[in-house]
Amino acid sequence: MADDILLDVRDLRVSFGPVRAVDGVSLAISRGPFGIALVGESGSGKTTVGRAILRLVPASGGTIAFDGQDVLGLRGPRLRAYRRAVQIVFQDADNSLDPRMRIGTTLGEVLIAHGLAGRGALGGLAGRGALGGRATARVAAQVAALLSEAALDPALASRYPHQLSGGQRQRVAIARALAVSPRLLVLDEPTSALDVTAQARILALVRRLRDERQLAYLLITHNLAIIPGLCEQMVVLYLGRVAESGPTGELLARPAHPYTLALRSAVPEIDAAARRSRIILPGDTPQAGSTPPGCPFHPRCPLAIDVCRTTVPPLQAVAPGRQAACHRAGEVLSGLRPPGAPAQLAEDPGRPR
């Protein structure tokens, strides 16, 4: 079983000054084809986990191992090699491409920087001009192939980012991430900024890439609806900690954590038949770092009891392959639901000064 694990995150901690954005998160990503979703709202730390995996922010604790090798201590050429194996697609499609560079140049740059453009292609300073004719043609051919794979017209290589639609830009970002042939792709809210039709196309693309490239991916999102069909496993985060984790289908059908219950009930559904009664959580999603004593969710939890206010619930197995951090996880799993009372006057003090 351990051989199956591609990325092993154990007890990851990331702090920004006094703020503990990630406070002990563990997850395991198997070799491709495999999809795992990291779900949470603002303040959950999900984006930070993704960044920490990519070594874009320093971790303050815990370990990350890729193929059995430690990741957090990598430097120099080994770090660059890691960055070929693990890639990320950012949420902000509008700004993740240099507005002054043509699409083809942006993609070509990645190929050249990693020496992937075949023999004879030097790290040309001026881009196309400095390369030999043959090398330029090779790069161009590879760029065209990448664009096609991302379901884009290769002619777009000569355009600037602002001339493309949001969905197209995001697909270019995906193509760029694929340029290095990664084994693990981190997708940070890849469709949040897109229209629903563009979103559908991106999700279909990810599904296709998963099969064609045997890709493993970590899908970071707050939108539960896009997870089934893409990810076998999911992890729910709240205030930097894991609330629960397990196989997607089971977790969504029978949650073991009150937060998952509320999250699931809050998702708007088009099919009237699929709608569940809303669990309205009082107050707002707390800011990272404002962790109360005891269970981080207890101030908003409709099922909180005394022990929740004092003791942090440990992440424990509640069923085969499923873990939850809740004192009443067993009850929730068995069907305990909050009473249908309307939300009381919110006490949440909002952001501290």
Partner: protein, 257 residues
């Protein structure tokens, strides 16, 4: 046939001759939520601005008719529009933080707006406090600065302001798109409350069809500035007549699988 609270007829908004939104007919009655659904560039936001009489400031030309309780709004003088805007037609937008000047306390902005529409200081305070309670926020939050409130709280304050003004119509342009899903659920619940207990007429613009499906009684689907289909929500979703509607519905991810 009694007239609807808000009646839009042959509304056309264009920039330098290019049409960006064209709505032949749209009614919003008191006590109902009508949805305007579409993707970016569909013209739905421009429609809201045109109803508010603010499209002109964006540089657009507006023709057609928008009637509030029978009174024509298009072509009204700026002064008269100002009296109506806020007081009878309120609006909330996607980014609540942009609606509040960061150097003023939230309460100051609210009370100033109320006083501008004719209330005395004492009345303004009383109404503001009552409105805050209606949106399930403690009135003390009015003493905070916008930066000290979360997105969800600010959006609820914006709704509270609409309530305090006793607005009859609420225009909402993607009010929950920037909010977390659990907070969104709260705000949507609030809008339902406004419809049911206050009889407000709500025009709700969103690109999220699932939200529209849950919230709106009737819906108009827009694409590239045109209304392609409209009708009761349940009907449009169960039996879409236009290809684009079908395409949109097919693209919406569903959790309940």
């Amino acid at each position: 046939m009694s007239q609807a609270k808000l009646e839009v007829r042959d509304l056309r908004v264009s920039f330098a001759g290019h049409p960006v939104a064209s709505v032949p007919e749209l009614n919003v009655d008191g006590g109902e939520i009508v949805g305007l659904a579409g993707e970016s560039g569909s013209g739905k936001s421009m429609t809201i601005l045109a109803v508010l009489g603010l499209a002109g400031t964006a540089g657009a030309a507006v023709t057609g008719s928008v009637r509030l309780d029978g009174q024509e709004l298009i072509g009204l003088s700026a002064a008269r529009l100002r009296a109506i805007r806020g007081r009878r037609i309120a609006a909330i937008f996607q980014s609540p933080a942009l609606a509040f000047n960061p150097v003023f306390r939230v309460g100051a902005i609210v009370s100033r707006t109320l006083r501008q529409h004719g209330l005395s200081g004492a009345e303004a305070t009383a109404r503001a406090d009552a409105a805050m309670r209606s949106v399930l926020l403690p009135p003390e939050l009015l003493d905070r600065y916008p930066a000290q409130l979360s997105g969800g709280q600010l959006q609820r304050v914006a709704i509270a302001l609409a309530l305090a003004l006793r607005a009859e119509v609420l225009l909402a342009d993607e009010p929950t798109s920037a909010l977390d899903v659990t907070v969104q659920a709260e705000v949507l619940e609030l809008l339902r409350e406004l419809r049911d207990s206050r009889g407000m007429a709500v025009l709700f613009v969103s690109h999220d069809l699932a939200v529209i499906a849950e919230l709106c009684d009737r819906v108009a689907i827009m694409r590239a500035g045109q209304v392609v289909e409209q009708g009761p929500t349940g009907q449009v979703i169960a039996a879409p007549r236009h290809d684009y509607t079908r395409e949109l519905l097919a693209a919406v991810p569903r959790l309940g699988e």
